[in-house]
């Protein structure tokens, strides 16, 4: 295929001709742009010349635009061109005469507007969230009066997906955290000769604090994101609207089962992860401090009052319900495009984890009188 080429010919009458030839198409031009552009500009600046396009084998819009720009966006005075080439230039002229797109003008108060907008969006989101909580209470009241409407299948599916399938990963993470915590504490305790207090540290720390928060973070990342994405895609594909037209409420069928199931399954996961983490700590304590498993088992109930287990389980319940509510809240806010889906999923997980830690702090303050040994 012929490479685009510029040739200068001096005509018989002394006038200069710029002879263009070859294929002036995107494919051929793309690698040559840097050399062609100055060459064309130089010719255009020279003044009285004739542009001869008759030898051009193929001219597409890229080639035409290249010439058009060299000609300062108008047809040159002396031009030899085929009709179909002229048609492209006519189109370009027509395009130039269209009113240019105007973006929204920048306001001098941009800063204040963005703060106000952010505050309004936050407020609206909070109001929606509170409405969702209210809706869940209404659904619960409705289901108590009409138990036949209870979406058992959906509840059971969420129990399995968010609970049973999360067991391996929570166990692994719990076990490793138990080992690490026990190992680091034992290094310190050894210096004071306070070896047996490892049981207190592990028991209180894991049962009351680490177990619930660890599981909550894992579940927020694992199940919370999945719930947001699922509801988001259902919104994109209009499945939620389809449900509504069949008279099926999405709060009963989609949101409520998730909230209930996560509320049920989270305390169980907390119990499971806590137990495994304690086993991890026990193994490490035995290796580091030579504290036997039997001693560990004996001392644990004395060192850690049983109320701590209840605090841990209550936290699990609260975290589970919050994670599901936040995940569904953001899932329902997804607008039908990919960007919105990804940003809502991110916000959902970040918000869940932040809220979990905030609520955990509230728990710490409220229960500060409870369950401390001695």
């Amino acid at each position: 295929m012929a490479v685009p080429c510029i040739k200068i010919v001096t005509g018989g009458d002394g006038g200069r001709n710029v002879l263009l030839s070859g294929r002036w198409t995107l494919n051929m031009l793309a690698p040559l742009l840097d050399s062609l552009r100055p060459a064309l500009a130089e010719q255009a600046a020279a003044g009285q010349i004739t542009w001869n396009c008759l030898e051009i084998e193929a001219l597409d819009s890229t080639g035409a635009i290249l010439l058009w720009r060299a000609w300062h966006r108008r047809l040159p005075g002396l031009l030899l061109a085929k009709p179909e080439q002229l048609r492209i230039f006519e189109r370009l002229e027509e395009t130039d005469h269209q009113p240019p797109a105007r973006g929204v003008p920048h306001s001098p108060f941009e800063f204040a507007i963005s703060i106000g907008g952010g505050a309004l969006r936050f407020w609206r989101s909070l109001a929606d969230f509170i409405a969702l909580v209210g809706q869940m209470l209404l659904v619960a009241a409705h289901l108590l009066r009409h138990p036949r409407d209870t979406p058992w299948r959906e509840i059971s599916a969420t129990l399995f997906k968010s609970g049973v399938l999360a067991m391996p990963v929570t166990a692994l993470v719990g076990f490793l955290i138990g080992i690490v915590l026990s190992y680091l504490s034992s290094l310190q305790l050894k210096q004071f000769g306070a070896d047996i207090y490892i049981v207190n540290i592990l028991g209180l720390g894991i049962i009351r604090e680490l177990g619930p928060v660890l599981v909550a973070v894992l579940v927020a990342g694992r199940s919370g994101s999945a719930m947001t994405a699922q509801l988001g895609v259902m919104r994109v594909t209009e499945e939620i609207e389809a449900l509504a037209t069949m008279g099926v409420s999405h709060s009963v069928r989609l949101v409520f089962p998730k909230v209930l199931a996560l509320g049920v399954v989270m305390p169980m996961l907390v119990l499971w992860a806590t137990a495994i983490a304690l086993v991890g700590g026990m193994v490490s304590a035995q290796a580091q401090l030579d504290i036997s498993y039997g001693f560990f088992f004996d001392t644990l109930p004395k060192a850690v009052p049983v109320i701590n287990v209840w605090i841990g389980l209550t936290k699990g319940l609260a975290f589970g319900i919050l994670i599901a509510l936040i995940a569904c809240h953001f899932g329902l806010r997804v607008r039908p495009n990919t960007e919105s889906l990804s940003s809502n999923t991110t916000t959902s997980v970040v918000t869940s984890i932040t809220v979990v830690i905030l609520v955990d702090a509230v728990f710490a303050v409220v229960t500060r009188e409870l369950g401390m040994p001695g």
């Binding site: 995107l26 494919n27 742009l33 819009s61 395009t95 269209q98 009113p99 607008r335 495009n337």
Partner: protein, 256 residues
């Protein structure tokens, strides 16, 4: 027609999904400048065939060549160059929803990495003009567009790299008759103006009669017929009779 002229050459193509044969020994040659419609009943493998032509799906057997070159092999660079020579209009537009209309059309041009923004701007404006949209439409996001505008923008994006071949999957599905007629007219005008070879899948007889210079009928796992519309209607085959004649006869007589 010699095979050198063929923009698309399909020879002895067979496709199997699981145990089901979709195509057996399909042969088809489409020449430069033709506007060919692929028709066939649901499940006859029209979309599969189209996806095979654009290299999204490899056939079980047989080969496909575009512009006389094989579709597969010869390295990434060669395949990429070949892919830039055709544009595809997907059924639902397949616009990138996180890009504005302008950026959607500019995307393939920017991917070339050799054009400057000024040139890209002029090209995008020209493409918008080609599909009869205004510069201000470039600022819109795909979610804000109507169905007809989505198709236009998708067409502009398919034309961005100056393709020689344009493949359309159900170009008028989901458009009302008026918009559909407009879009068909647009494709016909652009096809002529840019010298495109067009392959389209359609269920709509109006689109078919308005655009197609030749029709390929898919059925019974093969190409039942490949000829001009006038010849096709005279072929005696149950599917062809049902597809063309029943729908014709059901339509009210056109006003004179």
């Amino acid at each position: 027609m010699s095979s050198n002229d063929a923009v698309i050459g399909i020879s002895d193509l067979s496709t199997r999904f699981g145990d089901a044969w979709i195509h057996r020994h399909v042969n088809l040659e489409i020449g430069r400048g033709e506007m060919v419609a692929l028709v066939g009943g649901s499940g006859s493998g029209k979309t599969t065939l189209l996806r095979q032509m654009i290299g999204l799906l490899a056939p079980t057997q047989g080969s496909i060549s575009l512009f006389g070159e094989p579709l597969y092999g010869g390295g990434v660079e060669r395949e990429r160059t070949l892919r830039r020579r055709f544009g595809v209009l997907f059924q639902h537009g397949a616009l990138f929803s996180s890009f504005s209309v302008y950026d959607n059309i500019a995307f393939p041009l920017r991917e070339l990495r050799s054009l400057d923004e000024g040139l890209i701007h002029d090209l995008v404006m020209l493409k918008l003009n080609l599909v009869e949209l205004l510069p201000r439409h470039g600022l819109l996001m795909p979610a804000e567009l109507s169905g007809g505008m989505v198709k236009r923008v998708a067409l502009a994006r398919a034309l961005a790299l100056e393709p020689e071949l344009l493949l359309l999957d159900e170009p008028t599905a989901g458009l009302d008759p008026d918009r559909s007629d407009n879009f068909v007219r647009l494709i016909r005008v652009l096809g002529k103006e840019l010298g495109l070879t067009v392959v389209l899948i359609t269920h709509d007889l109006d689109t078919l009669t308005a655009l197609a210079s030749r029709v390929a009928v898919l059925g019974d796992q093969r190409i039942l017929a490949f000829a001009s519309l006038d010849e096709i209607i005279h072929i005696d085959h149950p599917f062809i009779r049902n597809f063309f004649l029943s729908e014709r006869s059901r339509r009210p007589a056109s006003p004179h």
